[in-house]
Symmetry: C2
Subunit: 266 residues, 2 copies
């Protein structure tokens, strides 16, 4: 199967009207190449590309950008040594990279959240009116952080608020969703509307949701944030994608290659 | 001295043409109130407001927003309990809050960077062509992280790259500056242009500068990030502001109230 047919099958399975604007496109490679194997990943980092090469997977399906900006623009990178060496690795090994971001999130259900939910086992806790909010058995921020560290293989978690805060109404905003998807206010509006005790989130900025949750905690309100980061909150969905792709692509070897958390803590 | 005269003195001392668009405005209180004392801070959190009240400082000069969005909009917050309780605290204690952000950064030299530089003692290391880049005696990412932890009172630092990487060309992008000030590419373009080994930064997103530095490190290039966060990279500048204000405001008690790092690590 060539890259084009494979991607067309995936897009068809998403069952969406064509997206007028999307970052989902062939980032590297050629539509007419025969696919030797698929590697799903959160991000096609250098190490992920090397692993795909070693495992003879010449099509990387990545959720996030390969070239360091939302739209994978490369004009500004032409003289950049990091870009040039990455290009060389990709070209010499005839690697193809297809971005699968918007379609994954717009599919019903959102494939990233679905994969995360499967891992958490929280389906029965979901609030009917808001798809990413849950009523869980009462626990603490500290215990809930330990749960996420265990489920998502996280060494260090940032929190805002008090570890001993009791929480039962939980919202999850993965990836860049916790930045508000174009509205700085959105995550806070959600927290208020659904009377959430805690939001478990991906990316964070210190002057928006973080500041709100901190003020709420300092006021003695029962509020906190548990910050997983972008990679840790979404990579589990790219692992699940392997399972979702298998019936679509019979005979094509598919594997998940973990990009991993980018940060170390000193 | 009333709030208005005090702020007018500060603006005049910045020696700038009037800013057409700015987030610097009276966020709470009244222009005609007599100032009992000034508290400078990174952010007027609940705890900072309480400390200002306890110390009889009724004018808080804050660098970052009070109401959780870049422009301190409050229409969306009218029914929000966090906002209502914060407003109550401010109103009942007749606290005035003035935002001093854009003017601080546009003043020559940038007052936030100036305060940071004073703390670091790096003035002689500054590269002539780029104002926030330095050539320091060779050290490692680990040792440089320890230096910043000590200088800026940071418990935990996130890094990207290898702790043992030797670095001597250092860029600093404080606060939101490491997001690129409207250009996702800017911090990476700077890193390439100035051949920086490491950028010491404030806010970070995982798909831009973080991804670039990670790829560079995985390629074996001598690159790394040391991530201080927004508060830790700028709060030292708000401490310095106290010294800058003193000759402008004779007779007015001025103190620095630390907002502190928002995150705890589990």
């Amino acid at each position: 199967m060539q890259v084009r047919e494979l991607v067309e099958r995936i897009i068809a399975a998403c069952n969406l009207p064509p997206l007028e604007k999307t970052c989902d496109r062939l980032i590297a490679g050629e539509w007419e190449r025969e696919v030797t194997g698929v590697a799903t990943t959160f991000m096609a980092t250098i190490d992920v590309i090397r692993q795909a090469i070693a495992q003879r997977a010449n099509l990387i399906i990545t959720h996030e950008p390969t070239y360091f900006t939302h739209l994978d623009q490369t004009e500004w990178l032409q003289d950049d040594p990091v870009y040039q060496l990455k290009q060389k690795l990709i070209t010499e090994n005839q690697i193809n990279i297809w971005r699968f971001h918007d379609h994954m999130h717009f599919t019903q259900p959102d494939l990233i959240y679905f994969g995360l939910n499967q891992e958490l086992g929280w389906e029965t806790y979901r609030l009917p009116e808001e798809k990413h909010c849950y009523q869980i058995p009462p626990t603490t921020v500290e215990a809930l952080s330990a749960f996420f560290k265990d489920k998502l293989d996280i060494k260090t978690i940032q929190i805002i608020g008090k570890p001993e805060t009791t929480v039962e109404r939980v919202g999850i905003l993965v990836g860049g969703g916790s930045l508000g998807l174009g509205s700085e206010a959105m995550p806070m509006t959600l927290m208020k509307k659904e009377n959430l005790d805690v939001i478990v989130c991906g990316e964070i900025l210190e002057w928006t949701l973080a500041a709100y949750a901190r003020d709420a905690a300092q006021l003695g309100l029962n509020k906190a944030l548990i910050i997983l980061g972008h990679n840790r909150s979404e990579e589990v969905g790219m692992n699940y994608l392997k399972t979702w792709l298998e019936p679509l692509l019979p005979g094509v070897p598919i594997q998940f290659v973990e990009a991993g958390e980018p940060f170390a803590y000193l």
